[in-house]
């Protein structure tokens, strides 16, 4: 089972980034086979529709579960269409977020918890 965590860096000890669409990296961990990979979030540089590119990328990577903070309506519709379970409330490092998830401490998102554009960086 592939678990994806939105993060600032590429490694299990990177800080998580709760902004799904705008985070720099997705760290993808498969605890069953003990693999850790990462992909750059194509949404981090998009001017608009960042969440869409982000969700598209992790759907393409065959992720089963996403651990993050805030997810807007557009991303959410892609994630649910792709059958990806999304949990929110991550904090600390990637490894810590994974442990919290495995301990059942992260809530499954039933609906988007952010508005469109909420992740746009103010210049």
């Amino acid at each position: 089972m592939k678990i994806c965590i939105s993060a600032c860096g590429k490694d299990p000890d990177s800080e998580v980034d709760p902004q799904f669409g705008r985070c720099n990296y997705f760290v993808i961990i498969d605890p069953d086979i003990g693999s850790v990979t990462s992909i750059k979030n194509p949404g981090s540089e998009a001017s608009g529709g960042a969440g869409i590119r982000a969700a598209e990328a992790i759907a393409g990577a065959g992720v089963n579960t996403l651990l993050t903070g805030s997810v807007g309506p557009n991303s959410f519709s892609i994630l649910s269409e792709a059958g990806i379970e999304t949990c929110s409330g991550i904090r600390g490092t990637v490894a810590f977020a994974l442990r919290e998830y495995q301990a059942g401490k992260l809530a499954v998102l039933e609906s988007p918890n952010a508005s469109t554009h909420s992740g746009i960086k103010k210049s």
């Binding site: 608009g48 529709g49 869409i52 590119r53 969700a55 598209e56 557009n74 269409e81 792709a82």
Partner: protein, 313 residues
């Protein structure tokens, strides 16, 4: 400055002609003036409405399509002119080969490729038509989606007034503004009530104007927003003048800045009880205070003269 400092080679005569026609004849009469401000609530709409009412034969365009409120003051009867539509893609899943041409083409990220289907997000689509062009399988069709409305004041109104409204929940103000601009009568001066801020929609209004009036208050926040709007106008090379609203409140920082930068202060609207009362009642103050009609007329004449002077720069 009548002649450009560094005349462009070969085009100097044309530049001169343009300048002359602007100053001597018709063209100066056909000015397009954008009334803008770095943020909402500075009195931008008040200035636009009062200026339009003071000058005869002018056309007023409410381009603040996300929150058009000129007509709160004008109270004209509005008639629909056209519905603004955006052509968005519709995907036929039976014909789609999942080649992803469309989603990788769309720079607005309005299409997402999932492993087994393409999802479209019409609210992000700018209607560029590119995706149907790159879909070799012919699985994409364009269908119209209404995003806004253009309305105009009924013919018996005292002023030509045209207003654009973006539908609730829509994000793209610029296409509505573009549609509005197609209704300009090029034989008469135009006043645009711009959207507030400095994003795309504002630029599409300022960029269309010959002169930009920035309405501001001389407070720290007002000054900050004023500088942002000024930067936008300068980037677009539109000459700028300032209207100081609620003059007397706040400090003199806008004024000092303008003096140092050579930006004309076109008008001062004092922090006056009568003006404030009329405003709160939704009455344009030129209607009740005839001395202000003259002040707005003078401001219009000043703008015409200044726009002339600026064409050589």
């Amino acid at each position: 400055m009548p002649v450009p400092k560094t005349p462009v080679q070969n085009t100097i005569t044309i530049t001169d002609d343009c300048f002359l026609s602007l100053c001597t004849g018709g063209k100066a009469q056909l000015m397009k003036i954008a009334i803008a401000s770095g943020k909402g609530g500075t009195g931008k709409t008040t200035v636009a409405v009062n200026l339009a009412l003071a000058i005869e034969e002018v056309q007023l365009f409410d381009c603040d399509v996300e929150e058009p409120n000129c007509n709160l003051f004008l109270e004209f009867e509005l008639e629909p002119v056209e519905e603004v539509i955006c052509l968005v893609p519709e995907i036929n899943p039976d014909m789609c080969t999942l080649c992803r041409n469309c989603s990788s083409f769309c720079k607005y990220n309005a299409l997402a490729a999932l492993p087994n289907k393409i999802l479209s997000f019409p609210a992000l689509c700018h209607g560029c038509g590119g995706c149907s062009f790159v879909c070799l399988a012919g699985a994409l069709k364009e269908k119209p989606r209404p995003i806004g409305m253009i309305e105009k004041a009924s013919p018996e109104s005292s002023l030509t007034f045209i207003c654009g409204t973006l539908n609730i929940g829509e994000a793209m103000a610029t296409p509505v503004i573009r549609s509005l601009q197609r209704h300009i009568d090029e034989n008469r001066p135009v006043i645009f009530d711009s959207p507030p801020g400095t994003a795309c929609p504002v630029l599409s209004v300022m960029g269309y104007a010959d002169y930009c009036v920035l309405v501001t208050e001389s407070t720290p926040f007002g000054f900050h927003d004023f500088l942002l709007a000024l930067e936008a106008a300068r980037a677009l090379k539109v000459p700028v003048g300032v209207v100081l609203n609620r003059d007397g409140l706040g400090d003199s920082r806008v004024e000092e800045f303008c003096r140092a930068e050579g930006i004309p202060i076109l008008l001062r609207i004092p922090n006056d009880k009568m003006i404030a009362r009329l405003y709160s009642e939704g009455t344009p103050f030129v209607k009740e205070m005839p001395e202000w009609k003259k002040k707005f007329e003078d401001m219009f004449e000043t703008i015409k003269a200044l726009a002339c002077k600026n064409t050589g720069v």
